[in-house]
Amino acid sequence: MTETTGTNTRVICPKCRQELPWFALNTDTMSLCTQCGSAIRACVFPALLHTHQPDPDLPVPVAEGDASCFHHAGRKAVAACEECGRFLCALCRINRMGRNVCAACLSRQKHDGALPNLTTERILYQQIAWTLTLLPLLVFPFLAITAPIAFGYAIHAIRQPPGILPQRRWPMILAALLALAEFALGLWIIHLMLDDMA
């Protein structure tokens, strides 16, 4: 079974994609799928029974004397963005931890790393730095070229805002120091090679 998206309204067997009978749900032991015979344990929660009701807080048209939304001139403003002060209709208002913000401010904060809770991906500069520090040791004549790049990535990893998962700082510092040492080694190797040629 592959990852699926869609509207789920029933619990299905991951193997045969058939609906599991109700007596196989919420049991403390394994039950057999009546279709494929797989041993299954399905723990169901109340969200399965809930239906999504339409949002009652729909935007309303602007009336005489009312403030209108910054983005939708025909809709009544219900709040102001607490970051930029723009008026927002019910559609544009985003309630973020009890604060009303607009989509643009939220996007900017996410980009600045101020909202780690919304982060969906992260580049692992620390691992790039370590790869560039260790792998070129196999091709040591190029150390003078790869070491500065590794050092750059290590510094970038140190300066990066903290991610959502805990990350130790000392491996990044160690990678930067190793890259510096490798750069010195690379220069020394070039010096020896030039001496040999002379």
């Binding site: 609906e19 344990r41 239906t51 903290p162 959502i164």
Partner: protein, 351 residues
């Protein structure tokens, strides 16, 4: 605005999904109000959040991989121990037997760890809009621990599920008219719109032939200890071709059938075993071919298939082959017999 940094607790160990082309690491964390699925591919980490208030179900399906691992590791341990015993009996230098005995601990330790971690499983988490695999939860005890751990936060976010309401919901959703009074405001989900793949009828003949041939292979390997006649070698070649043919047939027939997972797993195990055995045999042949003196075809056969007992490598290979063939063949036939006696065969497909 200050940066929000929820504290995450890792759940279970990270799981590595790798092949020649990719290497993906999966991790699972629990946060204050959600689960965090971390997928690391190369130098990029991607995060997916599943809020406790949205989780509809956690589904765990038991798989047979732990048995396959156990069969493999057990066979290797047994074969190495057998080799150590043979070395000890033949009074070879004492350290040789001891070293081989110590090597047996490597697969033996794997066998113990596999047994300690418990049965394997696939775990899925379902919300209203998606079903996601929880790759790190690949062992049953861990998945059960996970369900016990998330039940409390999910129920505090959603409330407790009344079994009677669940039964009513299931009955209503099975009825063709709709989904009952609680959900009547939404359009009824017609079960016919969800694609259902029908099972292909299959009686298991190809698998019976395959597992029976594996037992014949066991007998053949044992006979090679006593006879070096060319007819044995020719029989071996014919047996190899028959095994490969029946394996391909069994693999192509088992897809989309009701054949139990154990039998399907054993068929895949046979594929791995045959690939390894033939690779090993081919590499041995490549080493031996230069030693042929071009006298006769019979001598070529003797060079390519030396009699058992002439070298330790050949003997170990034959013992290992016999063990694997015997184990897989007998397990497969027992499983097929159980299936036949437990369930009536499916009716033949309509013309």
């Amino acid at each position: 605005m200050t940066a929000e940094s929820p504290s995450y607790q890792p759940f279970g160990r990270s799981t590595l999904e790798s092949s020649l082309a990719y290497r993906i690491r999966h991790r699972l964390f629990t946060g204050p109000d959600h689960l965090l699925l971390v997928r690391q591919e190369g130098y990029r980490e991607t995060y997916r959040r599943l809020y406790f208030r949205d989780i509809q179900a956690v589904i765990v399906r038991r798989t047979v991989w732990n048995r396959i691992y156990a069969a493999w590791l057990g066979t290797f341990t047994l074969a190495i121990l057998l080799l150590a015993a043979v070395l000890a009996v033949k009074q070879s230098p004492p350290p040789a037997a001891l070293i081989v005995f110590l090597i047996a601990w490597i697969p033996g330790l794997g066998l113990l760890i596999n047994a300690h971690r418990g049965p394997t499983c696939d775990t899925w988490i379902q919300s209203a809009v998606q079903s996601l695999p929880l790759k790190p939860l690949n062992r049953l005890p861990l998945a059960n621990r996970f369900i016990a751990a998330v039940r409390q936060p999910v129920e505090s976010a959603q409330g407790t599920l009344n079994p009677a309401a669940l039964q009513a919901f299931a009955t209503d959703s099975a009825a063709p008219s709709g989904r009952g009074p609680e959900t009547s405001s939404t359009p009824a989900t017609d079960t016919a719109t969800i694609p259902v793949l029908p099972f292909r009828p299959y009686r298991g003949h190809a698998h019976t032939v395959l597992f029976a041939l594996l037992l014949v292979d066991l007998a053949h390997s044992l006979f090679r200890f006593h006879s070096t006649a060319p007819v044995m070698l020719i029989t071996g070649l014919i047996l190899s071709i028959a095994l490969l043919t029946s394996l391909i047939l069994a693999l192509s027939r088992q897809a989309g059938t009701r054949l139990p997972n154990t039998i399907q797993g054993l068929t895949w195990t046979t594929l791995v075993y045959l690939v390894l055995a033939y690779s090993f045999h081919s590499s041995l042949m490549m080493f031996r071919l230069p030693t042929w003196n071009h006298s006769s075809p019979a001598s070529l056969l003797q060079v390519l298939y030396p009699p058992a007992g002439t070298s330790m490598i050949t003997t170990s290979f034959l013992v290992l082959s016999a063990l694997m063939a015997g184990l897989t063949g007998s397990m497969g036939l027992v499983q097929l017999y159980r299936r036949q006696s437990g369930h009536p065969p499916p009716p033949p497909s309509p013309p």
